[in-house]
């Protein structure tokens, strides 16, 4: 077991990580003390002080922010006032945005409950309802349906071994399947590149570290369609020759991890997994940055999750320096269906000239937040409609189509068709497919601050522009909100935004100042109002 695995075990056993236990561990693993410190201090999951009896974690990020999580949190604190056994703290997005304000009580998800209910559970965590039994919905991509044979696509290729690779790659290329994690890299090309790498061993990794505020579609796929994810990974292994796979899942997705665990056991029992290819679950010790594929690799290698300079890309030098396919949960889950039904079928699933289907989460100010499996080409307006329309019948003010890192678009853009290019053309990005809706009355400066603060909080700190740039902008925005601002932000933001976008090592820093820039672009008057207030003081 590596360092991170040992730290999990130690914390599980002792409740927290004590310095003397860590020193013994370092000695046993023959790693320097500083390496232990680096890892323990980096990951949110690890604690070096005894835990409270009950820990209540309340999400503070975009979708929950829109549903007044700050007031909610204060109210819960008030209700629990002085209860020394309970620790209430705010955490980064929990990926349960449809239950905003989302919360965990001792790591068990509790959502969409009143502050009073949450306080009740905090005092009596044993009363928490058992994890809800999943009512698996019918998803179009689940070719197995209720009667279909699971893993039949993989089995149909399996006996042909790597001879099947060209056909699989060709189909994925023709279908123009693109990575659904946010970057949209062509999947067929990625598999093709790794397949051609001479070095062995190779690895296949499912990136289930969905942590973007507003994003939760992978969580639903992970829980409801784990067999498709596994099948997608098996096909990637078949194509590339990998023998080992990992599902990298965030630690806040514990119920979903269990679902995946069961599915893996089932796949092993069926012989789908085994000596030829097996999959291990690696639970992320925490942090948005781990969703960045090279940061994820660093974590798998027991280091701080700090993104690598690229190139080389993981396809050439990934896990332990070996060729590695890393795909998003949804991407992997789509592969079996596409191979079964063919590229043409896939393309025909789109509308208005778009091809394919898309899982997308809708949250924020909508009546019925949730994950929707839409045809690409569906408009934002149509999706909002499917989600029950803007909350409380209010007018739409703005939306972020791809989660917190996507630029805000104004209501006028609501007829934008949902697709990689169309949204980019509108000035934002499909990103993590997380539509966050903002109704009239939303304070866009406050919302932009919330989003920027998220990136500041989640910056790994490795490179200068992201580490310091996000902090500076947050500090300036907070001054403005507090009524102490000046006009400096407006002057300096374009240069800062350019510097972060151009010089940050990874996507986090590159996009971190996009949303606030878009907010000032469309709602600059709101900034002026704050500045005017500042001058009045």
């Amino acid at each position: 077991m590596g360092l991170i695995g040992e730290l999990y075990r130690l914390q599980e056993e002792r409740g927290y990580l004590r310095a003397d236990d860590l020193a013994v561990l370092a000695e046993r693993l023959r790693v320097p003390l500083y390496r232990v410190e680096e890892v323990v201090s980096f990951y949110t999951h690890f604690r070096t002080a005894p835990p409270p009896k009950t820990e209540v974690a309340i999400c503070r990020d975009l979708s929950c922010h829109l549903l007044e999580c700050r007031d909610y949190c204060s109210r819960v604190r008030e209700l629990l006032g002085g209860d020394g056994d309970v620790d209430v703290h705010e955490v980064s997005c929990l990926g349960r945005c449809e239950f905003a304000p989302a919360a965990l009580v001792n790591d068990v998800p509790v959502g969409r409950v009143s502050p009073e209910e949450l306080a009740y559970y905090a005092r009596a965590p044993e009363r928490l309802p058992p994890a809800r039994s999943v009512h698996t919905r019918r998803w179009r991509i689940d070719y197995c349906g209720e009667t279909g044979q699971k893993y039949s696509v993989y089995e149909s290729y399996r006996e042909r071994g790597r001879d099947a690779a060209p056909e699989i790659i060709e189909t994925l290329k023709t279908a123009d399947l693109r990575g659904m994690g946010g970057a949209g890299f062509p999947t067929g090309l990625k598999w093709d590149l790794v397949s051609k790498e001479a070095a062995t061993p190779k690895y296949v990794i499912c990136n289930a570290d969905e942590s973007e505020p507003g994003a939760f579609k992978d969580r639903v796929i992970h829980e409801e369609l784990p067999h498709l994810v596994i099948e997608g990974m098996c096909l990637a292994a078949l194509v590339t020759g990998a023998k080992q796979g990992y599902v990298y899942v965030r630690n806040e997705y514990e119920p979903e991890r269990r679902a995946m665990q069961l599915a893996l056991e089932d796949a092993r029992a069926r012989g789908v997994l085994g000596e030829h290819f097996d999959i291990e679950i690696f639970v992320s010790p925490g942090g948005y940055i781990l969703g960045e594929e090279t940061a994820l690799l660093e974590a798998l290698e027991d280091r701080r999750g700090e993104p690598r300079n690229k190139p080389p890309y993981p396809g050439q030098k990934g896990l332990r320096g070996q060729p590695t396919v890393i795909n998003n949960v949804e991407t992997l889950a789509l592969v079996p269906t596409i191979l079964k039904n063919g590229a043409d079928w896939w393309k025909a699933q789109g509308i208005r000239g778009h091809s394919g289907l898309k899982f997308i989460g809708a949250s924020g100010h909508v009546e019925n937040p949730g994950v929707f499996e839409i045809r690409l080409g569906t408009t934002v307006a149509e999706l909002i409609e499917r989600a029950g329309g803007v909350k409380d019948g209010k007018a739409l003010k703005a939306f972020a189509p791809g989660g917190a890192s996507s630029n805000f678009l104004p209501a006028e853009a609501v007829e934008t068709e949902i697709g990689f290019e169309t949204i980019a053309k509108a000035g934002s990005m499909l990103g993590a497919a997380a539509l966050v809706v903002m109704a009239e009355g939303t304070d866009m400066i406050e919302t932009a601050t919330n989003v920027t603060r998220f990136f500041r909080n989640e910056s790994c700190g490795k490179c200068v522009p992201c580490r310091t740039g996000t902090e500076k902008v947050v500090a300036m925005l907070e001054s403005i909100l507090a009524g102490n601002g000046d006009g400096a932000l407006r002057d300096i933001l374009p240069t800062l935004e350019e510097t972060l976008a151009e010089t940050s090592i990874c996507g986090l820093g590159q996009v971190a100042l996009g949303p606030v820039t878009s907010a000032l672009k469309y709602w600059g008057d709101e900034l002026d109002a704050y500045l005017a207030k500042s001058q009045d003081r």
């Binding site: 580490r467 310091t468 090592i505």
Partner: protein, 940 residues
């Protein structure tokens, strides 16, 4: 074992409109450098693996975003713009971002005046006052280290210190703690630097580009480089011979700070002694006037309570000048030199030349060693001249001369990078040869399999792939068993044995009985492990063997070395890259002092005293007739003094009272001398017994050459003026010689060097000019074009038969084994921060601050059993003496063992040690004697 492959592919690219062709794998940064285009950067340094975190070196390669030049590899057809408007705008913003959080006063700018961030800001015309960004909260300082100031508010998290610590020095102390904007560099578990496992090598501060990590002031305030003189010299401490630039304040006549400089021996690296241990030369206790013992302090004896063997009023520390000085009066040079020469001459006339003896020092230069042995041989008329080599590698040299005909290393330590397997045995390399250890650690991290064999688990063992913690003194049994396995499993190199060795049959016969099963009972290593490690060694394509005092300082020291030599001959590991024998030499010039003939049985360059031909050669050169009989060795001379056969001695820089075994006996011997002249820079314990004390110059106050463990001859430059009336050692030797009737006069050190090299074929062709800047390895047939011969003996050996000789040896236990009365095993040696008898290092502010007190290292379980606290006091007694000192619980010391460093006069390890000798090398058994351990209170 795959080492970095050489690439032959080339890449063509365009940078700022100019075309350049570079080997594949070259970064844009380096490609630009080829064109003379300098790209700014903070986190990158050519000595470090690039990490691309400061982003200052971004360039436009026509992609979606800019690329960091330091880490991005050049690609064919790439069109790079290093200074487009966008690029410069981004760089400027990055500088502003860093400055907005930067310390108001940069300690680096204040000290050495070379803060790279501030320099960059100046280049970009950025005024801090005009930056329109919120300023960051001041982050704290950590001033807990005795040598380095940490200022987190000036830290830009460039990662240089981390790589310096981790990848250059492999000390693995510095990392990052926290995340994001709150991250910081930290030490171990985020403890203050001063209480971390930091070994204060200073590499972090040397590579830090900002005011975050800076050297503390030692003597005079640190000042910008350009205000100081820089002197290219070497380190005065160990046999690694690190190249150093000393930055000197001429007005204060003092070294201000030291920096590593480029050399194949040290690659700009330094350890704590080299970087922070130079201030001893300015200590107020330096001798500045000749001293003569007052009449009322005869008969002679020790003067200070500690040397008398009494407890001092205040424990610890240096020779108490208040206690000792009253015994001496100041004299003129004329008077002191006349007295010294007169008394020595008188003894020579009265009792014959063999009643005289001289101890030179491996701290002195080649020139001084050469001249000193010439004085003893040509003027005293005896070969009774020796020095501390006798106490360190005499047995190794005896074995090497016997088997392969040469006492020096066959390959340099840095070539470990080419070894498949490296063996480090009986060497606490990380403490005693810290910079050589960095090369070994580098190799171990980069594919070389490292085997460490020692009775203690020392720092280097932590980097080993195979660590065998053997029973003390069981070396021969282990190596014989390894050879048994090599022969049994046919892992020997038959061609090599046939072509280049002799005596194999005898070896095969002898090791037959050393089955691993038989050896395991002696050395305590399970038979399977012996087999496994023997196989690793036997299967290596190239193997290099390093050893230290743990091998040599035994009554079986020569036997131990013979075994190592046999292992290497058996497997043909000589004369090729990554192979060889490397006894790591202790003192900065122990190799050179031996080369220069500071040994009783050989003239310069190992020409035998017993050989009439050599005698004739030197008689002709020196114009006198010479004694044909080899002289006495160090311990024999002390024994001679004790029984009265040695009556007069001249000691140049040696301190036998602390360095020689059985100190109580040494005390009696020194007191018994009719006349003792001590030439030194401080009043040493030995000088308490002197009739005349001559104030000499330190390393920093003279020119000279020094030969390191690799056989690298380097020039030590004069760095500052000597204090008071102190004079250069070689001048004093000339004065004594002249006054004794043998006129000696040299204009300068290089004139002496020329005389020495004319008589020492190995040094032939070397002179002060061609030795600059980084020295040469001897032999060096063509100094104009070559660095000297790195690999010796690829085609046979300088023995009579031209072959290397197997000398099979049986295991013999140490001379004094533990028993009921003295149940523990005593082992002695050194600490990282201190040097030999502590005369220099205990007068160095930083080194003394880190290790101020005598301690002994014991296994925690033994301490518990004795009822001693982990840092409580113990009384150690042997058949020869008793000392009391603090214990330090040390898991790396096996149960039943005690390790005592010998630097501390107040608890001198050599009061305890056994002066029994190895019959061949005449080296005492410093590493093994029986000792009793008792709980004690603190010294009164």
């Amino acid at each position: 074992m795959i080492k970095k492959a050489e690439t032959t592919q080339t890449i063509n690219l365009t940078i700022d409109g100019r075309k350049v062709t570079v080997p594949a794998g070259t970064t844009i940064w380096d490609a630009a450098k080829e064109l003379g285009i300098k790209i700014p950067g903070l986190c990158h340094d050519p000595r470090l693996r690039p990490v691309g975190v400061c982003r200052m070196c971004v360039v436009d390669v026509g992609e979606r975003v800019l690329a960091a030049a330091c880490i991005r590899e050049a690609a064919d057809g790439m069109n790079v713009h290093t200074n487009s408007e966008k690029v410069e705008r981004c760089r400027k913003t990055l500088i502003e971002l860093l400055l907005s959080d930067y310390a108001t006063e940069s300690l680096r700018e204040q000290k050495t005046g070379d803060d790279l961030l501030l320099a960059l800001a100046r280049d970009y015309g950025i005024e801090r006052s005009e930056i329109d960004l919120p300023t960051g909260d001041g982050r704290p300082q950590d001033l807990s280290s005795p040598v380095i100031d940490v200022d987190h508010s000036a830290c830009i998290l460039c990662d240089r210190c981390i790589r310096a610590c981790d990848e250059v020095q492999h000390n693995n102390v510095i990392g990052r703690t926290g995340k994001g904007y709150g991250s910081r560099i930290s030490f171990d578990f985020n403890v203050p630097m001063g209480s971390s496992t930091c070994v204060a090598c200073g590499e972090c501060a040397a590579l830090c580009p900002t005011g975050a990590l800076t050297d503390k002031k030692l003597m005079v305030p640190i000042q910008p480089r350009e205000q100081l003189d820089s002197v290219q010299s070497v380190c005065p401490y160990c046999g690694v011979g690190c190249a150093i630039t000393y930055h000197v304040d001429r007005d204060a006549n003092a070294v201000v700070f030291a920096e590593g400089r480029e050399s194949p021996a040290s690659d700009s690296r330094l350890c704590v002694k080299g970087r922070y241990g130079f201030d001893y030369a300015k200590h107020p206790q330096r001798l500045t006037v000749p001293l003569i013992r007052r009449d009322d302090f005869y008969p002679k004896g020790p003067l200070s309570a500690a040397v008398k063997g009494e407890r001092r009023k205040k424990p610890g520390g240096l020779v108490d000048y208040d206690e000792v000085m009253p015994a001496f009066r100041e004299a003129t040079w004329e008077e002191a030199l006349d007295l010294a020469a007169g008394r020595l001459k008188e003894i020579k006339q009265k009792d014959g030349p063999s009643a005289l003896a001289g101890f030179g020092s491996a701290k002195c230069s080649n020139e001084e060693a050469y001249l000193f042995q010439k004085l003893v041989r040509a003027v005293f008329g005896t070969n009774n001249v020796d020095h501390c080599t006798r106490l360190c590698h005499a047995s190794s040299v005896a074995a090497l001369l016997e088997t392969i005909g040469s006492g020096a290393v066959t390959n340099v330590f840095a070539d470990v990078r080419n070894a498949d397997v490296a063996v480090v045995t009986g060497s606490n390399t990380t403490e005693n040869h810290p910079v050589a250890a960095t090369f070994i650690k580098d190799a171990a991290a980069d594919g070389t399999t490292l085997i460490v064999i020692d009775s203690r688990e020392t720092g280097i063992a932590r980097h080993a792939h195979h660590f065998l913690q053997i029973e003390a003194g069981s070396d021969v049994a282990l190596y014989n068993a390894m050879m048994y396995v090599l022969i049994e499993e046919d892992l020997v190199d038959h061609d090599y044995i046939r072509d280049f060795t002799e005596g194999f049959d005898g070896l095969r016969e002898l090791v037959k009985k050393y089955t691993p099963e038989m050896a395991q009972d002696i050395c305590g290593i399970p038979a399977d492990r012996i087999r496994e490690v023997a196989r690793v060694f036997g299967r290596a394509g190239s193997a290099l063997v390093f050893w230290g005092m743990g091998i040599s300082q035994h009554t079986t020291g020569t036997d131990n070395s013979r075994c190592l030599i046999s292992l290497v001959l058996l497997t043909g590991n000589v004369g090729r890259p990554g192979t060889g024998l490397h006894p790591l030499r202790g003192q900065n010039n122990v190799q050179g002092a031996s080369d220069a003939g500071l040994i009783p049985m050989v003239y310069p360059d190992y020409q035998k005293v017993a050989s009439p031909e050599s005698q004739k050669k030197f008689e002709k050169a020196w114009g006198v007739s010479l004694d044909p009989n080899p002289g006495l060795t160090v311990v024999e001379i002390i024994n001679g003094a004790l029984v009265g056969s040695i009556k007069g001695m001249y000691m140049m820089g040696e301190n036998p009272f602390l360095s020689d075994p059985n100190g109580n006996k040494v005390r009696k011997a020194l007191a018994n001398l009719e006349f003792l002249c001590v030439q030194d820079i401080f009043l040493t314990e030995t000088a308490e017994f002197a009739d005349v004390i001559l104030p000499a110059t330190s390393f920093f106050e003279k020119f000279g050459t020094y030969t390191n463990s690799d056989r690298r001859v380097q020039v030590g430059q004069k760095t500052m003026e000597p204090p008071g009336q102190a004079r250069v050692d070689w001048e004093l030797v000339c004065e004594i010689a002249t006054r004794m009737g043998y006129p000696m006069s040299y204009k300068s050190a290089d004139e002496i060097f020329a005389e020495f090299t004319s008589l020492a074929p190995s040094y032939s062709g070397l002179d002060y000019e061609n030795l600059k800047p980084a020295g040469k390895l001897w032999p060096c047939p063509d100094p104009a074009t070559s660095d000297g011969v790195q690999l010796l003996f690829g085609d046979g050996f300088p023995t009579e038969s031209g072959r290397g000789k197997f000398v099979p040896v049986d295991y013999q236990p140490a001379a004094e084994l533990p028993d009921e009365e003295y149940p523990f095993i005593l082992n002695t040696g050194r600490l990282l921060e201190h040097w030999h008898t502590g005369t220099m290092t205990r007068r160095s502010k930083a080194l003394d601050a880190i290790e101020p007190e005598a301690t002994c290292q014991m296994n925690p379980e033994d301490l518990t059993e004795l009822g001693v606290d982990p840092d409580g006091y113990v009384k150690l007694s042997t058949r020869r003496g008793t000392i009391t000192l603090r214990a330090r619980a040390t898991p790396g010391v096996s149960r039943g063992n005690v390790f005592v460093p010998f630097h501390f006069r107040e608890a001198s390890a050599n009061i305890l040690t056994n002066d029994v000798l190895d019959p061949f090398g005449k080296i005492p058994e410093f590493k093994f004697c029986a000792v009793r351990v008792e709980k004690a209170g603190p010294p009164a």
